[in-house]
């Protein structure tokens, strides 16, 4: 394995909801910072991008990563992006990103202010490597990383999932799980991770 990666991202969409109240995430994320809700992450601040159409909505900024209630491509979900850390084994990096995204999704689902109305659709997951140096969006990268991604996914219950690359080659390399019929629910996913 020659590719080493650090800048990974995972997005898990929300189960479609007509009008998501993005405003609610501002006090929630401030509380997460105050109460240090996420282990092993130095949470720093909340960035408000609600004014940007199809943008990152509300972001929780951490030292090595950020979390966003992201609506890029028109679909809202929790996005975890690792920006910094030592380069490492792609399997560990991807597993870690998936775990952190799922953990944040779980925390959101449990937020009292939503009264149990929000849930995440684990049958669809978007994974990316945000480094055009270590993982350019090419067939070679796909040949190297797809088996790794697939191995992690199979280990947590996505056996045989279809993986699709982004249609625009200018985007970072990534693969998306679409409508996987055997996907674990969020609790099962977290347990498996």
């Amino acid at each position: 394995m020659s590719i080493q990666i650090q800048q990974t991202s995972v997005k898990i969409p929300l189960v479609s909801k007509e009008a998501l109240d993005l405003d609610a995430f501002i006090p929630i994320f401030h509380e997460w910072i105050r109460e240090r809700r996420i282990d092993n992450e130095l949470l720093i601040d909340v960035a408000d991008y609600r004014h940007v159409p199809n943008g990152p909505g509300v972001m929780l900024i951490a030292n090595e990563a950020h979390y966003a209630i992201d609506s890029e491509d028109g679909e809202t979900g929790i996005l975890f992006c690792r920006k910094r850390d030592a380069l490492g084994d792609p399997e560990a990096a991807f597993r870690d990103a998936l775990q952190r995204a799922a953990n944040a999704a779980s925390l959101i689902e449990k937020e009292e202010s939503f009264g149990g109305t929000l849930s995440f659709d684990t049958s669809r997951i978007q994974m990316r490597v945000l480094s055009r140096l270590t993982a350019p969006n090419t067939e070679e990268t796909r040949a190297e990383l797809e088996p790794v991604f697939r191995k992690v996914l199979e280990s947590v219950g996505y056996a045989g999932a279809d993986l699709a690359p982004p249609s625009d080659l200018r985007q970072p390399f990534g693969l998306a799980v679409n409508a996987c019929s055997i996907a674990p629910d969020l609790a099962a996913l977290l347990t498996a991770l």
Binding site: S2, I3, Q4, Q7, I26, P27, H30, E31, I33, R34, L42, I44, D45, V46, A47, D48, Y49, R50, H51, V52, P53, N54, G55, P56, M59, I61, N63, H66, A68, E72, D73, K83, R84, A86, L87, L130, S131, R132, L133, T134, D168, R170, Q171, P172
Partner: protein
């Protein structure tokens, strides 16, 4: 931490696509990072060197953040390592990226999008100086960011710090019927002539230059810049000549000054030398100790415009001729932006054919976002970016659109938008629909809904109130087209988070600057309300504050003010005229009840700021970096010598003994040259000249002599000069050269410290 894998780096990946001089500058900056991490470079000098490369601090980088209840320590992994005074290494920072005249090609835009996605938060932020800022960037990644930018022709050099900042110009230049001529090539020539020029390396404060194609329209904002150039023509000997009304000493900030006319007609061939002369005067006479009074405007005020004019004229005579002053003039009429499509008229039938659901929106968008070009059937379209923000994903959609409809460039604007030029009118419906699909078709450009805001408490260390939070709220409110009155629609709102005026609130019709007040022991975010400013005439008049109002009441303050104006205005009376006629006291009286603060128990929400759930505090204020660190040109030279010495050591470690020997000698020459600058700012790189001047000013005068070792260290340089190093030098020679260079550079530091005592 490296940002590369085992086998590849951006240096290797980009190779020769980075111009050599830019590659060397970035390598030098990366070496500074290494030196700072090793504790071998003073934090203050590193801070100014990173600022001059566009790497800025950001809120909470002092390791403290108030969480609404108490201040928490942010324990960054880097521990005590700092990137400047009170600025922790690992804390996220901001990267400011120059785009002269706001111009960006498709390739550059896509690179910016990639960088935002990989190193920032996928947001590109357009500033009021037509640049791009990326936030939450780690300092370790900045060299690679700079390399990737350099590979597409972008530099971050002198984007911050005490230097000439991004040169701005009308976004319509070259496509404007009110302009005397296209100022783009002149602004470009000024940019690249002054970039890195030795005459601008020793400023006590930043320096801003703007170009405007005409006087009445506000795009260029020449009147509040250190140098403001307004294009004019003049008939001389029967021939129409191009030139500029040349203004100096304008500026906003806490103490706004209108620029004063230095010369009513500066011929085009005198533009660059006159800019250079003004810079040299500023470098020589500008304040160093009191940063609050260090801008050019205070020099002009102190001397008076007549005396300042004389001093500049004298300075101009001393500047050696430079072929670059006029070389570019041969190409000023070369059209660089060729429309992609034939200009065709928009037929009403095409509008009628639009779907009912979008026809009204298109019509409204067309009304405010389209600028008619003098080129027949071409228009410039403004892409309004709420709060100046757009995403990496939107950038890629935008470049698809420009490639399809117009060609290769966009221009960022001082109103934090961007324009797409040379759109064929007939394409507008399709163009609009594609923008709309990309989330880029916000209407109301340059109207009351098009709010300008600085970063404020979101990311700025100096922010007192949430200017972006307020702007977002007002943007939502006014985007609903509440006011059908065209006189209201054309008003401008600008909100700054503090008195520094980064949103340019002084020239807004309705301006706001963040302050705070304590009521019953609790602090509450407020904004001073500034009325009477003028956006037209290049920012022709500055407003004055009429009082501070609670942040949460600002929408009501605006509504009340507009209602009063609409009810009482005389025919054709604009808001500025109304304020002048009625008097601020009268308007203030109308707003008096809005100053009242509900109790905390009644309305706790009042004690938070817009877009922030925490109870309001000013405990997060830090030390601003706008002023940079006053580091002399000699300090920089000596630091450069240390960097070269460090590189020599690396060469030696890598077995490149000859290179190490040569680099060690160069480090001595660099240190000597830095010292010589005290006497001769124009000293060249030539070793003969450096050694000759060093001998004259430092050796023969014994100025360089060590109190204990006498001439010993000076002789290291003189000996090497007589017997220069060679690439064939072996390890022994190289080692000796490095040891000697180390002592020489240290002696140069000591000499300069002694001289500062003398000075």
């Amino acid at each position: 931490m490296s940002n590369t894998n085992n086998s590849q780096s951006w240096v290797q990946q980009l190779g020769e696509s980075i111009p050599t001089d830019m590659a060397e500058e970035i390598d030098a900056f990366e070496t500074n990072i290494t030196l700072r991490k090793a504790g071998k470079l003073d934090p203050k000098i590193f801070a100014e060197s990173r600022l001059r490369r566009g790497a800025y601090g950001q809120r909470y980088d002092n390791g403290r953040r108030h969480d609404g209840i108490k201040t928490q320590e942010l324990v960054y992994p880097s521990g005590d390592l700092v990137k400047g005074p009170e600025t922790i290494w690992d804390a996220p920072g901001m990267m400011r990226i120059k785009s002269p005249m706001g111009i960006a090609s498709n390739e550059q835009l896509e690179t910016l999008a990639d960088l935002a996605e990989e190193y920032s938060d996928s947001i590109l932020h357009v500033t009021t100086r037509q640049e791009i800022q990326l936030h939450f960037v780690h300092i370790d990644t900045t060299p690679d960011i700079m390399r990737r930018l350099a590979a597409v022709g972008i530099t971050t050099r002198e984007a911050c710090g005490n230097s000439v900042r991004n040169v701005t110009a009308c976004q319509f230049a070259g496509g404007c019927s009110t302009a005397a001529f296209d100022v783009t090539p002149y602004a470009k020539a000024t940019t690249y002539y002054l970039l890195g020029h030795k005459d601008i390396q020793d400023f006590g404060r930043k320096f801003k230059i703007a170009f405007s194609g005409c006087k009445p329209n506000p795009c260029g904002m020449a009147m509040f810049h250190d140098i403001g150039c307004v294009a004019v023509t003049k008939e001389i000997d029967g021939e129409v000549k191009r030139g500029f009304e040349f203004y100096v000493g304008g500026g906003l900030g806490a103490v706004p000054f209108q620029a004063q006319l230095l010369d009513g007609f500066v011929p085009e061939d005198e533009l660059l030398p006159l800019c250079q002369a003004v810079c040299r005067v500023f470098s020589r006479l500008g304040e160093r100790k009191n940063r609050a009074r260090a801008r050019l405007k205070f020099v002009v005020k102190k001397l008076g415009i007549e005396e300042f004019r004389n001093v500049v004229a004298e300075e101009r005579k001393t500047i050696p001729q430079d072929e670059r002053w006029t070389k570019y003039l041969a190409d000023v009429d070369t059209v660089t932006e060729i429309p992609l499509r034939e200009g065709r008229q928009l037929e009403q039938s095409a509008i009628d054919a639009l779907d009912d659901s979008i026809r009204d929106d298109f019509t409204y968008w067309r009304k405010h976002n389209i600028w008619q070009q003098p080129q027949t059937n071409y228009v410039t379209a403004t892409v309004r970016l709420p709060l100046g923000d757009f995403t990496s994903s939107q950038v890629r959609k935008l470049t698809d659109i420009t490639r399809k409809f117009t060609g290769d460039t966009v221009r960022f604007t001082v109103e934090q938008n961007l324009v797409v030029r040379h759109v064929s009118e007939a394409d507008l419906p399709e163009f609009y629909q594609e923008l709309s699909e990309a989330g880029l078709a916000s209407p109301g450009a340059s109207t009351i809904a098009d709010i300008v805001a600085c970063p404020g408490t979101d990311t700025c260390k100096l922010g007192i109130s949430a200017s972006r939070g307020l702007a977002s709220e007002l943007e939502k409110k006014f985007s609903k087209r509440l006011y059908q009155d065209p006189e209201v629609e054309k008003l401008h709102i600008k909100a700054s988070g503090c008195f520094n005026s980064c949103s340019q609130h002084h020239v807004a019709d309705l301006g706001f600057l963040g302050v705070s007040r304590v009521v019953d022991g609790r602090r509450i975010a407020h904004f001073q309300f500034v009325l009477g400013g003028q956006w037209a005439n290049n920012g022709g008049a500055y407003g004055l504050a009429i009082g501070a109002y609670p942040s949460k009441r600002i929408p009501e303050v605006i509504d009340r003010t507009l209602a009063f104006w609409k009810a009482e205005r005389e025919e054709g009376e604009d808001l500025k005229g109304f304020v002048a006629r009625m008097g601020r006291a009268t308007i203030k009286k109308q707003l008096e009840d809005l100053r009242k603060i509900p109790s905390y128990e009644e309305q706790p929400d009042f004690y938070t700021d817009w877009g922030d759930a925490r109870e309001y505090t000013i405990g997060d204020l830090g030390t601003g970096e706008c002023a940079g660190e006053v580091v002399s040109i000699v300090d920089f030279g000596l630091q450069d010598a240390e960097r070269r010495l460090f590189e020599a050591q690396l060469d030696l470690e890598g077995g490149k003994t000859g290179e190490a020997s040569v680099a060690a000698y160069k480090s001595m020459l660099t240190a000597a040259k830095a010292l010589i600058m005290v006497f001769n700012i124009d000293i060249q790189e030539d070793p003969d000249r450096v050694v000759s001047d060093f001998r004259k000013h430092f050796h023969d005068t014994k100025r360089f002599h060590d109190p204990f070792a006498g001439a010993k260290f000076a002789n290291y340089l003189l000996k090497r000069y007589e017997n220069p190093p060679s690439l064939n030098d072996d390890n022994l020679v190289a080692r000796e050269a490095i040891d000697e260079a180390l002592l020489f550079v240290e002696a140069a530091q000591g000499c300069y410290q002694r001289m500062q005592g003398d000075i």
